[in-house]
């Protein structure tokens, strides 16, 4: 009985991956939004593992996303910073961490967020993507000047 408990405590909630990306230190409860931001819908090829509300010494609790056989680009991971600025990215090759980096909040977000203003030209059939400048007060629509100050994830396309 005791042995079983030890095994459970020491075992990994999600097993190691051979190649791919591990996104660690995601704010607790934000993993599903991270996956949404990355455009991973379940119909794509990558094997995906998600751990939510894992105990963390520094963060209290955190989420982890592991993505097999896909290395995320800097542009992709920086989008995560909008909802989880403490996240860290580990690029894994042959079970080894080959690159480890933090996320940086981008200055411009293109095609990720829908403008909440129904009168905005970006919500029409024009051949453009939504475009937001990232400002301290929130996301500022390049087209109509609308500012998203809260509940960003509900506006993700």
């Amino acid at each position: 009985m005791k042995k079983t408990e030890t095994t459970e405590n020491e075992g990994l909630l999600v097993r190691r991956i051979k190649n791919g990306t591990v996104i660690d230190h995601i704010d607790g409860g934000e993993a599903l939004n991270v996956v949404k931001i990355l455009g991973i819908t379940g119909t794509t090829q990558e094997a995906l593992s998600i751990a939510t509300n894992v105990p963390s010494r520094n963060m209290g609790c955190k989420d982890i996303v592991k993505l097999t056989n896909r290395e995320l680009s800097k542009e992709e991971v920086d989008r995560i910073a909008l909802i989880s600025p403490r996240a860290t990215i580990n690029i894994i090759r042959n079970f080894k961490v080959c690159e480890k980096k933090g996320v940086e909040i981008p200055t411009l977000i293109v095609g990720l967020v829908r403008c909440p203003n129904p009168g905005c030209i970006s919500n029409t059939n024009e051949p453009i993507q939504s475009k937001f400048n990232v400002l301290p007060k929130g996301l500022h629509c390049f087209y109509c000047d609308w500012v998203i100050t809260k509940d960003l994830t509900s506006h993700i396309i």
Binding site: G119, I121, T124, N125
Partner: protein, 246 residues
């Protein structure tokens, strides 16, 4: 029409798209395509469009200069330039008290003027029906720039303290029925009696067209500058067109 007049007076000609029904937009053409095509026909594009941000989109696709002549409930910068010019004819703009009255939520002329006045350390007084107040994001942006904005329930509270009274139209379609529109609109009407308590140098401006917001009796008073303001639209727009095509 004032842009067409401005272009004619500069010695140029203008091509007007006119009604949407008469052009390719009615066939489903995107604004982006229309702008690409018109870029080949003209040396500058002046665009008025019902969607906010349309002029910025146009500027992305155009190969000639684009002037925003009003985008939905967004901005109306050329109107603001002529508003500032009209104010400047009567007084220095710095540190003046300006009252904006009417539909401040959807009134694009009010948005652009408020933004411009924030550069002049002006104090803004707003008087608008419930639900038609200055957009919260714009008010916050102006406050961040250090602009003092004071909301009033009644124009009588502030008429004796302002240098400029900027009147905008309250649109009937913003109200559920005609009765509630008339009820509200009557409280925002500028009359000679109201102006009896105004400062001697007060000027009353309106982007026009007006409906009932200003009593025709005001037209004869020295305060009334809205027709002069309208006339100023031509030289100001001539200057804009000259500038972008130089």
């Amino acid at each position: 029409m004032s842009f067409e007049s401005a272009m004619a007076r500069l010695g140029g000609t203008s091509l007007s798209v006119g009604s949407v029904e008469a052009c390719s937009i009615a066939k489903g053409e995107t604004l982006a395509d229309t702008i690409r095509v018109v870029s080949g026909y003209a040396d500058a594009i002046v665009i008025r469009h019902p969607k906010e941000g349309a002029a910025r989109l146009a500027a992305e696709f155009a190969t000639v200069p684009v002037i925003n002549a009003g985008d939905g409930a967004g901005q109306h910068p050329s109107q603001t330039l002529l508003d500032l010019y009209t104010i400047r004819q009567s007084m220095p703009i710095d540190k003046i008290d300006v009252a904006l009255i009417g539909d401040l939520r959807y009134g694009r002329t009010a948005h652009s003027l408020a933004s411009a006045l924030s550069l002049y350390d002006a104090r803004l007084h707003t008087i608008s029906p419930k639900g038609l107040e200055l957009p919260a994001t714009l008010a916050a942006e102006l406050s961040d720039k250090g602009m003092e904005i004071i909301e009033h329930d009644d124009i009588n509270e502030v008429i004796s303290d302002v240098d400029v009274l900027y009147v905008t139209r309250i649109q009937r379609e913003r109200f559920p029925d005609s009765a509630s529109y008339f009820n509200v609109a009557s409280n925002y009407r500028i009359t000679p009696e109201l102006l009896a308590g105004a400062r001697k140098h007060l000027i009353v401006l309106h982007p026009l067209p007006r409906v009932d917001e200003i009593d025709p009796g005001v037209d004869e008073l020295p305060y009334a500058r809205y027709f002069e303001q309208s006339r100023n639209g031509v030289p100001v727009r001539m200057a804009m067109l000259m500038r972008v095509m130089q």
